[in-house]
Symmetry: C2
Subunit: 194 residues, 2 copies
Amino acid sequence: MFNVANVKSTLIDFDLVSGLSKGKEPIRRNLSKMKGIFYDRDAFDAEVRKDDRLVYEFFDMGVPETSGDVAYGTSITYPGKIGDEFHMTKGHFHTVLDTAEVYYCLRGHGLMMMENPEGEVEVQELVAGKAVYVPGRYAHRSINVSANEPLITFFAFPGHAGHDYGTIETKGFRKLVVERDGKPTLIDNPRWQS
Amino acid sequence: MFNVANVKSTLIDFDLVSGLSKGKEPIRRNLSKMKGIFYDRDAFDAEVRKDDRLVYEFFDMGVPETSGDVAYGTSITYPGKIGDEFHMTKGHFHTVLDTAEVYYCLRGHGLMMMENPEGEVEVQELVAGKAVYVPGRYAHRSINVSANEPLITFFAFPGHAGHDYGTIETKGFRKLVVERDGKPTLIDNPRWQS
């Protein structure tokens, strides 16, 4: 409608139903890229052999890594389980530890698992129309607890935050969410390493 | 599902259809609070007398004003016109000028008007499922160009950004959007002050 050359602003589409974009490729995490993340290692190995499926995908818009910028995009975690543990993201701290992140749920049913270095754990429940504010210093992971619907969120965090995946890959989260008696249930992570 | 006492994270609802929240009151801008913003002063006075309606509302979640935090919420601009100029927000620079903001459109049809201190103007068109990234240094204003539907966006910006409304209230934006031949049309602001 109002085309201007050399614009500095960015316009991009994120479909409100699929979470995907026609204008940008997401970063994809298939199951085989998540070795060591799910607690049931036998179930993991069996599932990878059977169906190395897409567990989640998300966008990196490549905004400048400054505190004046805001990294943003959608995250889509598909339904499924590894053993009795729900599909989820790897989860991470921010490299600049004391930086927050907001997730606005567009579709689905999930949990935001949060944990700070002192071991304090918080879990918030996401359904379409709910936003969770993850405070600074909390590692965070999205968990899809729906049987059949993707968990889709729109996220935003400070441009300079960075991602520290290694701490979680090495130690894990203290708590996991598994299905027990047909319901999402919080348990101690038997593989957690202090 | 997983209640924990003294949580540091925040959960809040923003309805995907209305943009409103059961958990928080928005900040409301009725027409009478927008004196001097629309270019047709006679039409403005007449409309205020006739119907001092709600033009837009938005949320201030009160996050800490630090660069590690992210201010977020929804913004709802209702359809309507003052003379031939579409309903819009007052618009503002950020006090920390070089801080960006992202707007993800959930519903409606609008324009994001942007202008930097050097006078460069950008306009991006918003429909549901489009996100616009307003780069640092750009004043920005949401304009609803739909005849009957609210323009609803989810926004996020750095916690330390702050708001400078005064510059726009005094000088205005260089460009305005009015309806001409039934279409949104960009014109020079006859009241713009250098």
